[in-house]
Amino acid sequence: MARRAQPLGAVVPAGVAAGALVLALCLGTLAAVAWRAEAGGGLGAADWAAIRFTLFQAALSAGLSCALAIPVARALARRQFAGRGLLITLLGAPFILPVIVGVVGLLALFGRNGMVSAALAPLGLGPVDIYGLHGVLLAHVFFNLPLATRLILQGWLAIPAERFRLAAALGFGPGDVVRRLEVPMLREVLPGAFLVTFLICVTSFAVVLTLGGGPRATTVELAIYHAFRFEFDLGRAALLSLIQFGMCAAAALMALAVTVPGGFGAGLDRPLKRWDADHLGLRMQDAAWLGLAGLFLLVPLALIVLRGLAGLAEMPAAVYAAALRSLVVALVSAAVTVGLALPLALAANRLGGLRGTALQGAGMLAIAASPLVMGTGLFLLLFPVVDPVALALPVTAVVNAAMSLPFALRALGPVLAETERSHGRLADSLGLHGYTRLRLVTLPRLRRPLGFVLGLSAALSMGDLGVIALFADPAQATLPLQLYGLMGAYRMEAAAGAALLLLALSLGLFWIFDRGGRANAAV
């Protein structure tokens, strides 16, 4: 039955407009590249090998990331300890780290000259060989475990405290809690978490190349580079990009097919205490998982910090100017992300059904885009009209926002749906519409995910290595570009300092926003 309890209002047009913008950014640019292409070549055997390898490594990476994220998220969900909030923030750090910095940290731990190899040397064991498929997986887990953990943790936190009280009252043991509460929750949350990590790994390229150990580890994104730079074959670049979209769309449909909507209902936001997990064995198990994940994720970060400290003094003044510029871009990107995500999520929720899903799908599209093709298409579209350099900052901000949008939608969507499920009728009956409803009901309920979204998009934008090199003006380089430039000029120490600054700023931005979203949100 069509429920038109309240008029569709301005939300749907605004959401559709946001979706259309993302669509234009992803597919419009692709079309522009294809349009400009002359006689394009078809796909060669090497391209097919790249497609196979991409799917293979992405599926494996995403599967591993999610599988490991489950025990970590569970441990975080059912333990209260001092510094838990800080740990959650820190554990999120690798995800927002620029790839180049993260790889340096990983190599400092697992490389041939890294800590692990050094520890094994006295035992007569040769250096660890990180290069190969296992290295790619290791790195992808490093970068994506934090996100997967976060998404799954949200699922855990979304189970109302009342359910656990009920479980405790019914004398549920840990196994019962798993069966009755956690498995249903995971069935709802896992496909989405898998999908997001899968999509990120599909477009991964520098990590795969560096740690993959050679041309065997070629992804579609690298094949796009090849078509574009090596042959200037725009047609093939567009075709490969389309294939990348296709792979992602197929994955999205599969994830959608296995997702079951959850119905945990609303709780009264009471602080969570878990009676079922009050065993020594479980406590040790959780501590072990948290300890391992902490070591795995934080030691490379610590090594980045250590290396960077010496370099801080070496950094030229230009680095600070670049840092300021990156901050501005990050803040604008974060605002634009929310400006796009909120109407999109609201409209998708309001429309519901297939249309709502389609709208959400449009918003998620950017994750599958090839930055190279998107940048090129945007350039082709804008160059005839304006000087691309004049648009460097707005374009970077909007593209960064589009890239953060999938995460934003994933974070906002379920909470929004839950809010509507629990409080929608009350709001309807009280005549809470439009802006008032947004202000009094929706936004307060969304505070937590909104803080997360703002922090995440700001941090991601901070670490972005010029999605759009064609628009970047090196005289106004952002911090990651400056970092890369320093490395390119042999100045590795200064670069390590810049990497530390970047790490601190990204984490700081994330922490401030995320924290703002949680403050007092509990009661």
């Binding site: 400009r36 090497a46 180049i100 790889v103 340096v104 190599l107 400092a108 490389g111 041939r112 000259n113 290069y131 390229f205 520098a206 190349l209 560096t210 740690l211 993959g212 150990g213 050679g214 041309p215 065997r216 690298l222 580079y225 090849h226 574009f228 730079r229 090596f230 200037f232 030229p316 230009a318 300021l324 510029r325 501005v328 604008v332 090129t376 350039f379 082709l380 160059f383 005839p384 000087d387 900052l393 707005p394 090199a469 064609l470 970047a472 003006d473 090196p474 005289a475 106004q476 380089a477 570009l481 890369y484 430039g485 320093l486 490395m487 390119g488 000029a489 042999y490 100045r491 590795m492």
Partner: protein, 329 residues
């Protein structure tokens, strides 16, 4: 729309100087960096030209060419600086470039005969190592192949990096039909392949690999800027592949005289004396004061290898397939 105002204030966008002609030079990013040649060259040229020299960075050399191909006749560039001989055939094919009409003597190991592009610097690709960690570096590809398997080199991908492309052509130039065999032999020694030079060189400095594909001039940076004489380039018996970086002017430019005078300036001491210690390459015309102290310590290969522009373009696909198949074993 408050943002552009704030952005302008915070970011200090450069304002065009009134009434001065503007010369737009497209180049690669690192040329324009604060520590690159760009700033000094901009100051020097603006002193003599009565113009505003505007550098526009566009990624690396290959990205620079792609940008030009995308822009076509509507390009805002007056001069393009930073292509190399692997790219000039395709660049000439765009039909965008004008003849330079300049006769000059170059200090290049090979003859220069190109009426469209002028070289501004050059270098040899080489494997760089740390003498304290690897005292007896291999002195040919074959010796590298014969070395124990735990001697590792890190190289770059020819599809995303200029040195990576250089190495691919180096092997092809030195070994021709034997290239597949050489790649297969090198495979166990290739620790990994990176996207760009920076990642590879960083990994080498961190001790991940014994050698890294770079330039014969790389040790000069460590010596001159850091007082560190432990880095050396290994001379290879087969000879070393060259990279010659060039510039050309755009035919449709509205500032043809300025563009031409920039090309002339490019070969003068004011430009050439900046190159060695900012771009860490050999100047195309050795300045009057000679090369900076420290450059005399660098190896000077006896054989310079390089494909003519058209030839390199023809060989590329085949060489890439050999590279990929050989290293995939």
């Amino acid at each position: 729309m408050k943002f552009p105002i704030i952005a302008t204030a915070v970011l200090g966008a450069t304002t065009a100087l009134a009434d001065m002609p503007v010369l737009t030079v497209y180049t690669y990013d690192s040329f324009v960096a604060d520590w690159g040649p760009g700033p000094q060259i901009e100051t020097a040229f603006e002193e003599v030209c009565g113009c505003d020299l505007k550098f526009v960075g566009a990624g690396d050399g290959a990205a620079l060419l792609a940008r030009l191909q995308l822009e076509g006749v509507r390009t805002r560039a007056d001069v393009v600086l930073g292509l190399d001989t692997n790219l000039t055939a395709a660049a000439a094919g765009t039909g965008l470039f004008a003849k330079h009409g300049i006769e000059a003597e170059f200090n290049l190991p090979v003859d220069w005969d190109d009426d469209m592009f002028l070289p501004f610097d050059w270098g040899y690709f080489a494997f760089v190592h740390d003498k304290t960690r690897l005292p007896d570096a291999p002195d040919s590809f074959e010796e590298l192949i014969a070395a124990p398997d735990d001697l590792k080199v890190v190289i770059q991908d020819p599809r995303s990096s200029t040195p990576g492309l250089g190495l691919m052509l180096w092997v092809k130039a030195a070994y021709g039909a034997r290239a597949p065999e050489i790649w297969a032999g090198l495979a166990p020694h290739v620790l990994t392949v990176t996207k760009g030079w920076s990642e590879a060189y960083g990994m080498f400095l961190d001790g991940e690999a014994d050698m890294v594909l770079s330039y014969t001039t790389s040790p000069a940076y460590h010596l001159i800027a850091e007082g560190d004489d432990t880095k050396a380039a290994a001379p290879f018996d087969e000879g070393h592949y060259m990279q010659i970086e060039v510039a050309g002017r755009i035919a449709s430019s509205e500032q043809p005289e300025l563009a031409q005078s920039f090309l002339n300036f490019m070969l003068s001491d004011a430009f050439q004396s900046v190159i060695a210690t900012t771009n860490w390459m050999y100047p195309a015309v050795t300045p009057e004061g000679g090369l900076p102290r420290g450059f005399e310590t660098l190896i000077t290969p006896e054989t310079a290898l390089i494909f003519a522009p058209g030839e390199a373009a023809k060989l590329r696909e085949e060489a890439l397939a050999e590279w990929r198949d050989g290293l995939s074993r």
